[in-house]
C-alpha cells in the first residue's frame, strides 16, 4: 500500500511533463478517489475545466456507460457516478458544443439524480441546440421536481421560456426556490425578463430575488466589455430591461462600439431607461441615409416603445420633422408599436408631400387598426401615387368591414 502511494506520488510529480491525455487520466483517477462533491473531487473537476477543450473528448467518453468495460472497466456504480457527474460539470464549464448529444442521453431516469442534474446543468451552460432543448422539454414532465427545475433553468439558458411556469412554481418551496435562484443567477441575460417579472410578484423570496438581480446586474455590466459582440449586445439589452440607471455611463460608452448591433442595443437600453443619449442616437439613425441603420433604428425604437413607452412623444413629434426619412421612420415605429395615441398624427401624415411618408403612415394606420382612420384611408384609394393607393386598400382590409 505504501509502495503504491509512493508510485502514485511519483506519477503525480511527473505529471508536469506528461501529455494532456495523461493529465486527464490522472485527474479522472483523482475524481474517482474522492467522494462526490468533496474538495478533492471538486479540485479534479476544476483542473479538468482548466485544461479545457483538449480534455473534452476524454470527458465526453466517460459519460457513456459502454466505456466502463474492457480496459476501462469500473465495477462500482457509485464510482461511475463520481466520474460521470464530474465529467458533466467540467464539460459544462468547457462548453464544447459537441457534448450536448452525449449529455442529453444521461438525463433520463436510468441515471442517478446527481448524474442527471449535472448533465442538465451542463446542457444549459453549453447553450442552445435543437437536440438539447428537445431533450430538456421531456424532462419537464419528470416526476421529480428537482429534475424539472434543473431542466427549466437549462431551458432559460437556451433563451426559451417554455419552462418559466416550472420556475415560478418552484418559489413556493424553499429547496426548489434555492435551485431556481442559483439557476437564474447563472442564466445571466437570458434570465433577466423572468427575474424582473418574479421580482414584482411578491412572496417570501423577494429579498433573495433582489440580491440575485444585483448580482446579475454586476455580471452584465462586466459583460459590456466582453470580447464577443453578442455578449455585449445581450448584456446591454438586459440592463435596459432591468430599469436601473446605475450602468448608464457604461451603456453610453457602447454607443461608439464597433458593432452595429451593440451600439443599437445600448441605445435601446438607454432609451428604455429614458436617457436622452439613447433616444437621440436612435432618432439620428432614423434619418440616416444608410438603409441598414434606419432599419435598425425602426426595429429598436419599436422595441423600446413597446416595452417602456418612453419614446412616444418623440415619435409623434418626428412625424413633423424636417427630414422625410425621419418622418417615414417615425410612422413605421408607431405602426409596429401600435401606438393608439398617434392615430390623429398619422392621419395628418397621410397628407405629407413625400409619398414614402404617406405610405408608411397608411401602413401604420393599418397596423393599429382603428376605425377612426377609415374615411381618410378610403379617400386615399384614389391617390395619384399607385403605391399610396395600394396600401390604402391594404390598410382598409386590416380594419375589416365597417
Amino acid at each position: 500500500m505504501i509502495a503504491k502511494r509512493l508510485t502514485c506520488l511519483l506519477l503525480f510529480s511527473l505529471s508536469a511533463c506528461s501529455t494532456t491525455e495523461e493529465q486527464v487520466i490522472d485527474l479522472l483517477e483523482q475524481m474517482a478517489a474522492h467522494p462526490i462533491y468533496s474538495p478533492g473531487w471538486q479540485q479534479a473537476v476544476d483542473n479538468l475545466a482548466t485544461i479545457g477543450r483538449p480534455a473534452a473528448r476524454q470527458l465526453i467518453a466517460r459519460l457513456n456507460p459502454g466505456l466502463y468495460l474492457g480496459e476501462d472497466y469500473r465495477e462500482f456504480r457509485d464510482e461511475q457516478e463520481q466520474l460521470r457527474t464530474g465529467c458533466a460539470l467540467a464539460l459544462g464549464r468547457i462548453k464544447p458544443r459537441g457534448a450536448t448529444a452525449a449529455l442529453k442521453d444521461r438525463i433520463t431516469a436510468a441515471y442517478t439524480d446527481d448524474e442527471r442534474t449535472a448533465c442538465l446543468w451542463a446542457i444549459g451552460q453549453i447553450g442552445y441546440s435543437q437536440v438539447g432543448i428537445d431533450a430538456l422539454k421531456v424532462q419537464l414532465k419528470d416526476h421529480n421536481p428537482v429534475i424539472r427545475i434543473h431542466a427549466a433553468i437549462a431551458i432559460v439558458k437556451m433563451d426559451d421560456n417554455v419552462g418559466d411556469d416550472e420556475i415560478e412554481d418552484a418559489f413556493s418551496d424553499a429547496q426548489l426556490a434555492k435551485i431556481a435562484l442559483q439557476g437564474l443567477e447563472e442564466s445571466s441575460y437570458f434570465g433577466v425578463p423572468l427575474l424582473m417579472r418574479l421580482s414584482t410578484d411578491g412572496g417570501p423570496q423577494q429579498q433573495a430575488l433582489r440580491q440575485i438581480i444585483d448580482k446579475v446586474k454586476d455580471q452584465l455590466v462586466a459583460q459590456l466589455t466582453a470580447e464577443e459582440p453578442v455578449h455585449r449586445q445581450r448584456a446591454a439589452t438586459a440592463l435596459g430591461q432591468m430599469g436601473d440607471l446605475g450602468p448608464t455611463q457604461a451603456l453610453v460608452n457602447l454607443l461608439t462600439d464597433p458593432s452595429n448591433q451593440v451600439r443599437f442595443s445600448a441605445a435601446a437600453a438607454l432609451a428604455t431607461l429614458d436617457q436622452a443619449q439613447g433616444i437621440d442616437f436612435l432618432f439620428q439613425a432614423l434619418r440616416n441615409t444608410d438603409s441598414i441603420l434606419r432599419a435598425n433604428a425602426v426595429k429598436f425604437l419599436a422595441e423600446v416603445q413597446s416595452q417602456s413607452g418612453s419614446v412616444e412623444s418623440q415619435l409623434i413629434s418626428a412625424l413633423s420633422a424636417e427630414a422625410p426619412l425621419a418622418r417615414a421612420g417615425a410612422a413605421q415605429v408607431l405602426g409596429q408599436a401600435r401606438v393608439q395615441t398617434a392615430v390623429l398624427s398619422l392621419i395628418e401624415a397621410t397628407t405629407d408631400k413625400t409619398a414614402e411618408v404617406r405610405v408608411n403612415a397608411i401602413i401604420a394606420l393599418g397596423q393599429i387598426g382603428t376605425g377612426q382612420s377609415r374615411s381618410r384611408l378610403e379617400s386615399l384609394r384614389t391617390d395619384d401615387d399607385a403605391t399610396v393607393a395600394y396600401y390604402a386598400e391594404w390598410a382598409l382590409g386590416q380594419l375589416g368591414p365597417s
Binding site: M1, K4, A32, G70, Y73, E75
Partner: protein
C-alpha cells in the same frame, strides 16, 4: 483491414446462400451477429436433417455443455459434456433414436470483439424413430462463442436455462475448486496483475451481470486475458482490492476436467490517490477447466443477480 473485408464478404456470402427458412435479417444486425446466427442455424439444421457433421461444425473442440434444470440459478446447474467428442457421441445417439422437427429463435446475441454470447429458444417436436411417439419441445439455451480465424464457434452451452430462480438443492464444494478461487481472491489483495491473470484461461470471458440472472441485461466486460491485463495495468496502480469470498457451490463434470462454481463475496477498493472507498456484495459464477493440466478460469460472471 483485410480481416475486416473477409468478415464482411463472408457475412454477405452467408446471407446470399441462406435458405429461405434460414436466419433472417434483424434490426441492429452486424457482420458478427450474422455469422453467429448462421452458426446457430447450422446446428439446428443438422438436427433437422439428422446430419451430425453439420451440427458439430458449430462447436469448438473444447466445448462444454451444462444442464440448467430449468433454473436461472447456476447453483442448480450440472455439467453434461466436457468436450466436443463427448457431445458428438450424444448427438449421434440422439439422431439415431429421434427425428427432430424443431425451429430456433435467437432472442439475444451480444458481441464484444472476439467473444459473444447468445440465447436461443427451440420449439417443435421430437419423434421417436422406433415408436413414432412425439414429444413437444420448448427449450431455452444460453451459448458462449469465440471467434477464431474469422469463424464463430460455440465454446459452451447451458441447455434448459430457466427464466426464474427456483430452489436449489444443498450442494457441496470441491476442495481444489475452492482452493483455486480463494487463491484468486488473495491475488487481488496482493495487487500483482500477473498473479491474478495466472488463474485465467487465455480465451476466458468476463461478464458483468448487472445484478440480474437474465442474460438479456449482461454485458461482456473482458474478451480474453489480454484485455483484462490492460485493465489491471490501469486499475491496480490506483486501487487496492480487498475481497472476502465464500464458495457457495461447485460442480465437476463426469471426467472431473470441467467445473463450475458460485461464490458470494464482498469486494472493496481503497483508492490510492484519495480517501474514497467503494464496496459491494456480489454473486459470481465461475466456470473452470483443467484441460491444460492445471485449473484455469474460462468464464467469470460478476454480479449475477441471485437471492440467498
Amino acid at each position: 483491414m483485410a480481416a475486416m473485408k473477409k468478415t464482411i464478404c463472408l457475412s454477405l456470402f452467408c446471407l446470399s446462400v441462406s435458405p429461405p427458412v434460414g436466419p433472417q435479417a434483424h434490426a441492429g444486425e452486424t457482420p458478427e451477429t450474422i455469422l453467429i446466427r448462421q452458426a446457430l442455424s447450422n446446428d439446428v439444421s443438422g438436427y433437422r436433417r439428422a446430419n451430425s457433421e453439420l451440427t458439430l461444425k458449430t462447436y469448438d473442440e473444447r466445448f462444454v455443455a451444462y444442464k440448467g434444470h430449468a433454473n436461472g440459478d447456476p447453483r442448480a446447474w450440472t455439467i453434461l459434456h466436457e468436450n466436443r467428442d463427448a457431445l458428438a457421441k450424444q448427438i449421434n445417439a440422439d439422431l439415431e433414436a429421434h427425428r427432430y422437427e424443431i425451429t430456433r429463435t435467437i432472442p439475444l446475441i451480444s458481441v464484444r470483439t472476439t467473444h459473444a454470447f447468445a440465447t436461443t429458444i427451440d420449439s417443435g417436436q421430437v419423434i421417436d424413430r422406433a415408436s413414432g411417439a412425439t414429444t413437444p419441445v420448448h427449450i431455452q439455451r444460453l451459448w458462449t462463442f469465440l471467434k477464431t480465424e474469422d469463424q464463430w464457434i460455440a465454446t459452451a452451452m447451458v441447455s434448459d436455462l430457466g427464466d426464474a430462480l427456483l430452489p436449489v438443492a444443498d450442494s457441496g464444494t470441491h476442495d481444489d475448486i475452492s482452493d483455486l478461487l480463494q487463491r484468486e481472491s488473495q491475488a487481488w489483495e496482493g495487487g500483482n496483475a500477473s498473479d491474478i491473470l495466472g488463474f485465467f484461461d487465455e480465451h476466458f470471458t468476463g461478464y458483468d451481470g448487472r445484478t440480474t440472472f437474465k442474460p438479456g441485461t449482461w454485458t461482456i466486460a473482458f474478451s480474453g486475458i489480454e484485455e483484462m491485463g490492460k485493465w489491471l495495468e490501469k486499475r491496480l496502480p490506483y486501487a487496492q482490492y480487498n475481497l472476502d469470498r465464500k464458495i457457495l457451490h461447485s460442480a465437476l463434470g463426469p471426467s472431473g476436467n470441467e467445473a463450475l462454481a458460485v461464490t458470494h463475496e464482498t469486494v472493496a477498493i481503497q483508492h490510492i490517490v484519495g480517501p474514497a472507498k467503494h464496496q459491494k456484495e456480489r454473486y459470481v459464477l465461475w466456470t473452470m477447466s483443467r484441460r491444460s493440466g492445471s485449473w484455469k478460469i474460462t468464464n467469470m460472471l460478476y454480479d449475477i443477480g441471485l437471492i440467498d
